[in-house]
């Protein structure tokens, strides 16, 4: 869509749809559906970080889990390294998993409390049959060192680690089968700020050294700006804006992006003005059976009749910069330069 075919694309997600059943409307009504992800397409270049930002219920985690083949998808294509892994089943899928791994938000619930750290890191190698038992031991020690844990840590249980150390363990475990892609699903959100910086720097270092590709999911725009090469903003199951980081932060174009930015702006008169003009009110509406128009219409200060009737699609606005809004060009973006 936005990257020329010649570029080195590792992951190409095409029109991904994930719907969940949500009971019926009334006893005899039609079945309802949660439109968790509703037609999402993006490409991720090898060795780069693709950021997905959005509030809870925006579908960012569902997108990631569907791409990881952890939850069933309704339709769509996931082309990973040239193969459509959406069609993979059974043994083929199991083996393919060595190439894409995920790190979750909560390192407390992501690790089996009854297994030692060394075993936890070795488990993916055992399951995928990588290396001899002896090689696996060596690899575990290497991984501990790479994520900044001492070799003795291999003998400890998860509860003996702090939150930051546990997240290091999760990263080591994800790195174990030498994947090409790691999804970081709010991987630093539960950590204290000082620890968050440590983990972000570690992820960056690993990317530099190993050419890793990341999908980085976060609700924190500051972290996203610091960490990502390309950014997609999701709202109620759809991408509403997508652009290279530089373009996004110098000229964000969707009203929802403006709202997110105004909520995250550094304190000061700028923030006060941004919040007054662009911060949306209320909470995101329910993703159950959404209405036909733009998903953002109830909260958008710029909505017109057309926004209620017609779902906007991503349109190219500038080089590699895509926006899904009927009113692009008609409404004034915040002018950061003058603020």
């Amino acid at each position: 869509m936005n990257i020329s075919a010649s570029a080195d694309v590792l992951l190409d997600v095409n029109d991904l749809v994930v719907h969940f059943p949500a009971g019926r409307r009334g006893m005899f009504g039609p079945p309802s559906k949660v439109h968790a992800v509703d037609g999402v397409s993006f490409r991720v270049r090898r060795g780069t970080t693709f950021g997905i930002v959005g509030e809870s219920g925006s579908g960012k985690s569902t997108t990631a889990q569907a791409v990881m083949r952890l939850i069933p998808m309704t339709s769509g294509q996931i082309v990973f390294g040239g193969e459509n892994i959406a069609e993979f089943r059974g043994e083929k899928l199991r083996l393919a998993r060595s190439r894409f791994q995920i790190v979750f938000q909560d390192p407390f619930s992501a690790l089996d409390p009854r297994r030692r750290a060394g075993d936890l890191i070795r488990e993916p190698l055992d399951l995928l049959g990588i290396g001899s038992p002896r090689e696996r031991e060596v690899r575990v020690r290497q991984l501990l060192e790479e994520v900044g844990l001492p070799p003795q840590a291999a003998n400890l249980f998860p509860h003996q680690f702090s939150g930051g150390q546990r997240q290091r363990l999760c990263i080591a475990r994800a790195m174990a089968p030498e994947p090409d892609l790691i999804v970081c699903d709010e991987a630093v959100s539960a950590l204290d700020v000082a620890i968050q910086a440590q983990i972000l720097n570690l992820l960056k270092k690993l990317q530099r050294e190993r050419g890793l590709t990341y999908i980085f999911i976060s609700h924190d725009l500051g972290v996203i700006q610091h960490f990502c090469d390309e950014i997609a903003v999701m709202y109620l199951g759809r991408i509403v804006e997508q652009a290279p980081a530089q373009a996004f932060f110098s000229a964000p174009s969707h009203p929802y992006s403006w709202s997110l930015i105004s909520a995250a702006a550094p304190p000061g008169p700028l923030r006060v003005r941004l919040k007054k003009d662009y911060l949306v009110k209320g909470d995101p509406p329910s993703p159950v059976d959404p209405l036909p128009g733009c998903r953002f219409v109830q909260r958008c200060p710029f909505a017109i009749a057309r926004c209620r009737d017609e779902l906007p699609v991503l349109n190219i606005q500038a080089d590699e910069h895509f926006v899904a809004c009927h009113r692009t060009g008609e409404i004034n973006p915040p002018d950061f330069a003058s603020l």
């Binding site: 702090s162 150390q165 700020v193 000082a194 440590q198 980081a245 930015i261 923030r271 909470d283 330069a337």
Partner: protein, 335 residues
């Protein structure tokens, strides 16, 4: 006018298997009417224990070992259970991080807000219900007359936190303790809740103790701030002063390690590593008399190793810091 809340030399210890372990040491601060005091620090620094000590809701194994907590002239630490009951709600109240677990799922929100009014102010069921609607309006919940009969699970996270705020403010307390009130909420909702808190404060003149790890929130809401590290206050003073001229290496580290949003320009993020504070907060029981931040401090020198942690040293009218080397670290910040 005397402060609404005056905490003096407060220490809290945990009764562990190895005897009494200090959790919070010699904390002192005042909060005046209509002012906001922020307690800042990483988890395990004693922020929440301070709040629970003020509310006298400390967990079983925790005990206040020294100090005094004066709330509107009344000593909270020596109050009888009956007196405490009337202080909570009437004089002080608290909102928690996770509104879903703080609300009772079996009662409507109107019932829960009304309960405070019935208990504390002796209102009838009908009057309490009518008042509850007014409070829901005050915290800007749309269709308040319908939502009053909703159960917590029918509301979004942001609305639940608004209900908590309505409950906490129902009896017009002099002091509101907000323990990470927005951590569990979405970013756009966080900004709304902070705005709401400061609007309500303007109307009611409530004193607020805000517990947070978010220095952005401090800059926006707080008049004063105390930075806690491993149970000790290491820097304290006017919020503007501390934000502009942090002196303690920990405070400076906290501010530097947050990736702030930069608008209108791009940062060369591949080159820029974030400043990080290495290591972590020492666990309970592993805190000696020397500076608790020493093992993580980039500025640690001979004097830090040779001497115990210095007391909070008043630098000027606006700020106090507990660091041997603050003059060398932040010479430009001297008064």
């Amino acid at each position: 006018m005397p402060p609404v809340l005056s905490v003096k030399d407060l220490s809290v210890s945990m009764n562990g298997t190895k005897g009494m372990v200090p959790v919070l040491e010699h904390l002192s601060f005042d909060v005046a009417q209509g002012k906001t005091m922020a307690l800042v620090g990483e988890s395990g620094c004693g922020k929440s224990m301070t709040a629970l000590a003020i509310m006298q809701l400390l967990p079983e194994d925790f005990r206040v070992t020294s100090g005094s907590i004066l709330l509107d002239g009344v000593e909270v630490l020596s109050a009888s259970p009956k007196e405490l009951r009337s202080l909570r709600g009437n004089k002080m109240s608290m909102i928690f991080q996770e509104p879903m677990t703080a609300l009772n799922p079996l009662y409507t929100v109107g019932n829960q807000i009304g309960e405070v009014l019935r208990q504390r102010r002796g209102l009838s069921r009908r009057d309490a219900h009518a008042q509850a609607i007014q409070f829901l309006k005050a915290v800007q919940i749309p269709a308040a007359d319908k939502r009053v009969d909703a159960y917590p699970h029918q509301l979004s996270g942001g609305m639940r936190q608004r209900v908590m705020i309505a409950m906490a403010l129902a009896c017009k307390p002099k002091l509101l303790i907000a323990d990470e009130p927005t951590t569990a909420l979405d970013v756009t909702v966080q900004a709304q809740i902070f705005d709401l808190l400061s609007e309500l404060q303007d109307d009611t003149d409530t004193a607020i103790v805000l517990i947070t790890h978010d220095l952005g929130a401090v800059a926006e809401l707080a008049d004063d701030v105390a930075v806690l590290y491993a149970g000790r206050c290491i820097e304290q003073g006017a919020a503007d002063e501390i934000i502009a001229h942090a002196r303690h290496p920990y405070t400076r580290g906290l501010m530097a390690c947050v990736p702030h949003l930069q608008l209108g320009r791009a940062i060369d993020h591949l080159a820029a590593a974030l400043d990080e504070i290495p290591g972590m907060v020492p666990p309970l029981g592993a805190r000696g008399p020397d500076c608790a931040f020493l093992p993580r401090c980039a500025f640690a020198s001979e004097i830090c190793r040779a001497q115990p942690q210095p007391p909070l040293d008043r630098i000027n009218a606006g700020a106090a810091v507990s660091c041997w080397r603050h003059q060398e670290i932040a010479p430009g910040a001297m008064a």
